[in-house]
């Protein structure tokens, strides 16, 4: 729907399709005041419009300047568009102004009409009322009239009635006249309105026409403007393009020329090159031709050869093919066999698997049984060990018994030998005999090293001894030295130990200390020392004594340094002591022993202990395996012992005995010879007698007589010589 015609189409019947208006002119001079007002307003509106257009134009100009690149034609188009839009708007406004004016006139008329109608209605109502009153009056008088009997009165009344009626009718007529007057006026008005409307319509048409004209004119103008702008732009474009084109053409021509010259040069160059190339190519062609012909010959030869080889190869290959075929057959056979084999092996594999499973089961069972057996064996082994221990004990005992038995036997034999020797000496040789005296003869029981006592035992001993000593007298002391072969007096040891015990209480556990409190002094010492020793790692006698010695040595070495602190009395001797070091040390120490504890300052104890522990650690490691061997009994001395026992009879006596034996042997031999000979003699005598008896019998037998040669004769011959 075209909006231009849309609103106008709605406007009504007195306007049809149009786009026309006039800008100014007749409307101002119109006889209609409304029209004039309208026209003035329009003028103002037009001015405002112009102003606004300027503003808008400026705005648009600004916009355009921002887009400077927009072409002139675009500018012109935009300008024209705005201008024409304004024009159209103004025009339509101008045209529709007439309609608006009539509209407002119509509304005014309607309002007036309404007012008038209202007045008229009021008037009519009033009239109706008054006439009604009058009519009532008249009708009331009729009644009065009926009562009147006197004709004059009646006539008079009738007259008045008539007058009244006439007045009423007159009133009505007046009203009617008035209304008719009004109607006439309205008719006049209507005619005027019609005229005005026709005027309006003619004005409208005029305006429309003028508008159409002006719009067409402006459109044409604007079109011209735009066309001109386009033309100018086109011209400019053409010129610029032409310039460009010419420039490009010139450049192109120049380039073309350059190219041409270049090309000519190149052509010449190429021609030269071509000629050269042609010559060269010809030569090359010839050479190549020759070469190629040769090659062809060679290749033909090769071809022949190849053909031969081909034949050969073909045969070979055929042969190979045959072979391979056969092999293939074989292989198929083998394959089938293998397949069969595989099947069989599968079967066996399955069987084996079954077996394997079975065996696993079996082995598990075996394993279980074996473990149980193993356990049993372990138990047995333990029992065996127990029994072995038992047997060792028993063996020891047996060994001892056997030892004793053998010893007894040996000693018996020795005593017999001694007795025999005594007899020999006394009876055969007539020499006095003295019994030899050997240490081993007194020995009873197996030889064994004495067992080392443990440190605590020693301690106990030491302490007990000191106790005893304390109980007895100091004079008895030398006897008790026996048990301490280490050349340290028990007293010294004891004192050292007491010192140690006092100073190194830190080595004892606090719990133990609390336990020790209620005990006796000696026992207390004993337990304390025991704990200390276990802490220091002292286990046996040797360790204990090395400790004691260490103390003494240390004191000896460091005495000079500690001299100042020690008592003056003891400080005199150390110098001599140092001089007397060596062999006499043992005795010296014994002598000094009583004073030593006093010499050792309690503060030094810890240092000494530390040094001792450091030194003790080294030998301890090497001694460990020795300890293990201790269990095995040392039987090196046994053979010695037994040899000794065996060699109780000395070589000299033995030699004596040998000689004696030989003599006695010889003597015995002689004696036996004599005895033998005696026996032989007697036997021979008996034999002789028997033989004589036998001979007698043979000779006397009858057989001899029957034989030609009697054996007696043969027989007699050898028997004779033998007889001697």
């Amino acid at each position: 729907m075209n909006p231009q015609s849309g609103p106008l189409g709605v406007l009504g019947e007195n306007e049809e399709e149009h786009l026309t208006a006039e800008i100014r002119g007749p409307s101002i001079h119109s006889e209609n005041p409304q029209e004039r007002i309208q026209a003035r307003r329009l003028r103002i509106a037009a001015r405002l419009e112009a102003r606004r257009r300027e503003a808008l134009g400026e705005y648009l100009d600004g916009k355009k300047e921002s887009e400077e690149d927009q072409s002139k034609s675009y500018k012109q188009k935009e300008e024209s568009r705005l201008k024409l839009a304004k024009l159209l708007l103004c025009g339509t406004e101008l045209v529709t102004n007439i309609q608006v004016a009539t509209d407002i006139r119509e509304t005014h008329r309607r309002v007036e009409e309404e007012e008038l109608r209202r007045q008229r209605l009021e008037k009519l109502e009033n009239e109706v009322k008054t006439s009604h009153d009058k009519f009532d009056e008249i009708t009331a008088k009729w009644k009065e009239g009926k009562e009147k009997r006197i004709p004059q009165e009646l006539w008079e009344m009738l007259n008045t009635q008539q007058e009244h009626c006439a007045g009423l009718i007159e009133d009505k007529n007046k009203l009617i006249n008035e209304l008719q007057q009004e109607l006439k006026m309205k008719d006049d008005q209507y005619v005027k309105d019609l005229k005005k409307q026709s005027d309006d319509i003619s004005l409208l048409l005029e305006r429309m026409e003028e508008q159409v004209k002006s719009v067409m004119k402006t459109f044409r103008q604007e079109l011209n403007h735009i066309e001109k702008a386009f033309e100018v732009e086109r011209q400019e474009l053409l010129i610029s393009n032409k310039k460009k084109w010419e420039r490009a053409l010139q450049a192109h021509n120049a380039k073309e020329l350059e190219y041409l010259t270049n090309r000519l040069k190149k052509v010449e160059d190429y021609e030269r090159q071509l000629r050269k190339q042609r010559v060269w190519d010809f030569e090359e062609y010839n050479t190549i031709k020759i070469k190629l012909e040769q090659d062809v010959q060679i290749l033909e030869q090769q071809l022949q050869q190849m053909k031969a080889t081909y034949q050969l190869n073909q045969e070979k290959l055929q042969y190979n093919f045959q072979v391979l075929k056969k092999r293939d057959e074989e292989s198929t056979v083998i394959k089938s066999q293998q397949k069969r084999k595989i099947n069989r092996l599968h079967d066996t594999l399955n069987n084996l698997r079954l077996k394997y499973a079975k065996q696993i089961k079996q082995f598990q069972e075996d394993n279980q049984s074996l473990t149980s057996e193993y356990k049993r064996l372990v138990i047995q082994y333990k029992e065996l060990q127990k029994s072995m221990r038992h047997f060792t004990l028993i063996d020891d005992e047996k060994f001892r018994e056997i030892w004793l038995m053998n010893e007894e036997e040996a000693k018996d034999l020795i005593s017999r030998a001694f007795n025999i020797d005594k007899i020999i000496h006394t009876h055969h040789l007539g020499l006095p005999w003295t019994a030899p005296d050997f240490w081993f003869l007194k020995n009873v029981g197996p030889i064994s090293q004495k067992q080392q006592k443990s440190a605590t035992q020693i301690l106990e001993e030491v302490l007990m001894q000191t106790e005893e000593e304390a109980a007895e007298e100091a004079g008895a002391a030398p006897e008790s030295y026996l048990d301490l072969p280490k050349r340290v007096s028990a007293k010294t040891t004891r004192k050292i130990l007491m010192l140690l015990c006092d100073e190194s209480g830190f080595l004892i556990e606090s719990k133990l200390l609390s336990l020790l409190l209620p005990l006796e002094k000696n026992e207390c010492y004993l337990l304390r020392l025991d704990a200390i020793f276990s802490a220091l790692g002292i286990e046996n006698e040797d360790d204990l004594y090395t400790l004691v010695n260490f103390f003494l040595k240390y004191q000896a070495h460091h005495l000079p340094s500690s001299q100042d602190r020690a008592s003056l009395a003891s400080s005199m001797e150390p110098a001599e002591q140092l001089d007397l070091q060596g062999e006499e040390k043992q005795s010296l120490e014994e002598e000094e022993a009583p004073s030593s504890p006093r010499l050792i300052h309690p503060n030094d104890v810890l240092k000494i202990l530390e040094a001792f522990v450091m030194s003790l650690r080294k030998p301890r490691d090497s001694r460990a395996p020795v300890k293990l061997l201790k269990e095995v009994r040392d039987n090196s001395k046994d053979s010695e012992y037994w040899k000794a026992l065996a060699t109780v009879v000395s070589q000299a006596t033995e030699n004596l005995w040998d000689g004696l034996y030989l003599a006695l042997e010889k003597y015995h031999f002689v004696l036996t010879q004599r005895a033998k000979l005696l026996a032989e003699n007697s036997a021979l005598e008996q034999q002789n007698t028997e033989l004589q008896a036998l001979l007698q019998r043979y000779l006397h037998s009858k057989i001899n007589e029957e034989l030609q040669i009697p054996p007696i004769q043969v027989f007699q011959m050898p028997t004779q010589p033998k007889r001697p």
């Binding site: 729907m1 849309g6 709605v10 019947e13 808008l56 159209l88 529709t96 407002i104 119509e106 509304t107």
Partner: protein, 506 residues
């Protein structure tokens, strides 16, 4: 048309144009035209100037003259002899009435035949046979000095529509044979889409009653009544036959009656009303219905509108310049909610505040109506405020005409509020009201928030020139914006009519 002295003369004068007399009057010029056209045709084909001139001069006797001239003419050549096809075509054209041969010809020959055919051939022959535009253009130009194609679409349509309108205009009930129109129906039913009749003639009233009784046998039942029947032509049969009809524009009145004016001439009777209502109800293709200047009062308006309720195609209803009051307005309001009406015009009626309120109520939730025209009513502030309230919720209306409605400042304030809220309104007309300077200021405030309004008519509404000018500027800015929007449609979906004022300028 000539001034008429009496009704009878009116009848005679108006009755003369219809079809019977029409061909006779047109007979001579057409033959001449044919001769001329044929002459020109020949000249075109022969392209030799001298014989053409001579031929054109003595167009009456053809053959013998030609031979004689040829015999003496030194310049004669075979080229001047018309071709056989030409002769055949001429013959076909001559006998077209009896033997219409067109479809069997070759296209170029068809063209020639159509060019040569006379426009006054009987419609029964040409109507369904000829589709050529130029032929119908010639027909139109021949019959009517002023012809427009723009509102019709094709020249054939123009011809048939105007022909039909002419017939209806000059139909006199009781005198003219209804078959005159109904005979045309099968010929024109596919071409007529619009009937625009601005005159319905009343039945003839003969001065002597007894004479007229025989003539008015059609409306015999009412013949005895005091008031003569003034029913007009009943459109029912015609409209039922036109299956393409989309627009019906009627004015029940007489044109150019001059001093013979009588109120009776302008009577839209109840029977007319009922038959028209039935007609428009039966016509399902009708899109536009206009009935203006026909003294339609409330009752008639209600009858018509009731028949239009739930009409499937109706888009525009124009009942302007009638006598519709509040009840009719209420009926129209009901129609708004029961149809797809897009344009409603009740301009120059007697709608007052209650009617406007009912319209406003219907408008508040309407989604079809684009244009509402209440020009020259008297809805006053009460109705104006109701409409303004309705516009606050309405999202469809684009055009609103409230000119000459005795509106004043309160309505203006409300409308200014609407302006800042509503984004669909494009055109508002508040001219010829008493809005006053303060109202103008308020409207200006409302305009400052609006970006869619393109036209806002405030002429003669007592507002100051300053505010009018400023509002005009705002409108101009809006228009420029709308133009930008249409040029770059990607930014915004432009409203239907946004293109409007810039169209001719660009």
């Amino acid at each position: 048309m000539l001034p008429v002295t009496g009704t009878q003369e009116v009848v005679t004068s108006t009755a003369s144009p219809p079809s019977r007399s029409f061909p006779s009057t047109q007979d001579r010029p057409t033959t001449a035209g044919q001769a001329l056209s044929s002459g020109s045709k020949v000249s075109k084909s022969s392209a030799v100037p001298p014989p053409v001139k001579s031929k054109g001069l003595n167009s009456g006797a053809l053959v013998r003259q030609m031979r004689r001239i040829i015999a003496e003419d030194a310049e004669w050549s075979l080229a001047t002899v018309p071709l056989l096809t030409e002769l055949c075509i001429q013959h076909i054209v001559k006998n077209f009435k009896n033997n219409p041969l067109l479809k069997k010809l070759l296209p170029q020959h068809q063209q020639k035949v159509l060019k040569l055919l006379s426009p006054d051939l009987p419609l029964a022959v040409t109507a369904n046979l000829i589709d050529d535009e130029s032929y119908w253009h010639r027909c139109c130009v021949l019959r009517w000095p002023v012809c427009h194609l723009d509102s019709h679409g094709s020249w054939k349509r123009v011809f048939f529509e105007r022909h039909l309108e002419n017939l209806i205009k000059h139909f006199i009930p009781g005198t003219t044979d209804p078959a005159v129109i109904l005979d045309l129906l099968p010929l024109c039913r596919t071409y007529v889409r619009r009937i625009r009749v601005d005159q319905f003639l009343p039945p003839v009233q003969l001065p002597s009653r007894p004479h007229s009784a025989g003539d008015q046998s059609d409306s015999g039942s009412e013949g005895e009544m005091d008031e003569p029947t003034m029913d007009h032509y009943q459109l029912g049969d015609l409209v039922a036959g036109l299956n393409q009809l989309e627009e019906l524009d009627l004015v029940y009145g007489v044109k150019d009656c001059g001093m013979n004016f009588e109120w009776n001439l302008f009577l839209f009777t109840h029977r007319d009303c009922h038959s028209l209502a039935a007609t428009i109800k039966a016509c399902h293709t009708l899109k536009i219905f206009r009935l203006t200047r026909s003294k339609v009062d409330d009752d008639k308006a209600r009858i018509l509108i009731r028949s239009l309720l739930d009409h499937p195609a109706l888009e525009e209803l124009d009942l302007s310049h009638n006598l519709i009051g509040d009840r009719g307005a209420r009926a129209a309001a009901k129609l708004l909610s029961h149809s797809h009406l897009r344009v409603l015009s009740l301009a120059n009626n007697q709608v007052r505040a209650p009617g406007a309120q009912s319209l406003a109520h219907a408008l508040a939730h309407n989604t079809n109506l684009l244009s509402l025209n209440l020009r020259l009513n008297c809805i006053e502030d009460e109705g104006g405020q109701a409409l303004a309230h309705a516009l606050q919720t309405n999202k469809c209306l684009t055009t609103l005409h409230l000119g000459g409605n005795e509106l004043s400042e309160p309505t203006a304030t409300l409308i200014s509020q609407v302006l800042s809220v509503n984004t669909t309104l494009i055109n508002i007309n508040l001219s010829c009201n008493h809005i006053g300077p303060d109202g103008g200021k308020q409207l200006l405030e409302g305009m400052s928030d609006n970006r869619t309004l393109l036209q806002f008519d405030l002429r003669l509404s007592d507002i100051t020139q300053e505010s009018e000018y400023l509002i005009g500027q705002a409108l101009c800015a809006n228009r420029e914006e709308a133009r930008q929007r249409t040029l770059n449609p990607s930014h915004f979906l432009s409203p239907l009519t946004a293109k409007g004022p810039e169209n001719p300028a660009s």
